[in-house]
């Protein structure tokens, strides 16, 4: 897949991750201590990273991709913890629709971000590469 297509797909998936977190913050978790704030931070972070992935500077785009990977992995780990013993006193009793959607988006985003980073870095130093 072309680097640009990978980048757009990555941006869309990261935006989806943030959108699900924001929707859950508004609909459910705004009153929940710690978890509510974390969901809002996730949404804000995802929105900022999406903008950075879509802007013109290649170095900033790479940085955004490198930032989006821990965001998605962190979210996945948090979901796993919440499905188990709970995190910050919060437990997910079952796989609600938004949880499933977030997991799918995060699982898809990580390899796409890695592929975009790999393709972007492989072009570093190549004749005519963007810097």
């Amino acid at each position: 897949m072309a680097p640009r297509a990978l980048r757009y797909l990555a941006a869309a998936l990261v935006l989806l991750v943030g959108a699900v977190h924001y929707q859950q913050y508004l609909a459910l978790l705004s009153q929940v201590h710690v978890i509510g704030v974390l969901f809002l931070l996730n949404a804000a972070g995802a929105a900022a990273l999406t903008v950075l992935l879509l802007q013109g500077d290649e170095r900033l785009r790479r940085l955004a991709a490198m930032g989006a990977i821990p965001l998605c992995v962190g979210s996945l780990i948090s979901i796993v913890l919440s499905m188990g013993g709970g995190i910050f006193g919060y437990q997910e009793p079952d796989w609600r629709g938004p949880v499933v959607l977030a997991v799918i988006a995060e699982l898809a985003a990580v390899p796409v971000l890695l592929a975009y980073l790999a393709s972007s870095l492989s072009r570093v130093g190549a004749p005519g590469s963007a810097r």
Binding site: L29, Q31, Y90, Q91, D94
Partner: protein, 123 residues
Amino acid sequence: MRTALTGAVVAALAVGVSGLALAKDSPSGSQGAASGAAVKAMKVDIQNFKYKPQTVEIKAGTKVSFTNGDTAKHTATSQPQGKFDSGDISKGQTKKVTFKTPGTFRYYCVYHAFMTGSVKVDP
């Protein structure tokens, strides 16, 4: 006319079945010995991960209804566990617990430990 009559019968059956389903949603948790006191009712709403009201004071024998207004599943479970447990309460669902023994009973949500409440049962 016949279609309308069939529709009315189907609607009546649907109402009846849903009524039965609601009636089946009997108290899942109760504690203490039965008393002869008249059974009263008290409502506790669960909204935004909070029990409202957080503390209730009731007479022994009163039935407390916990209604979940959140999308997330909740419970009303005695703390420590073992005295009563509403079981899972899904969105829009109501579970009832009858408090027959005087005392103060603290409870929480097993899924969201920061959600706490208490029931003070007077003789």
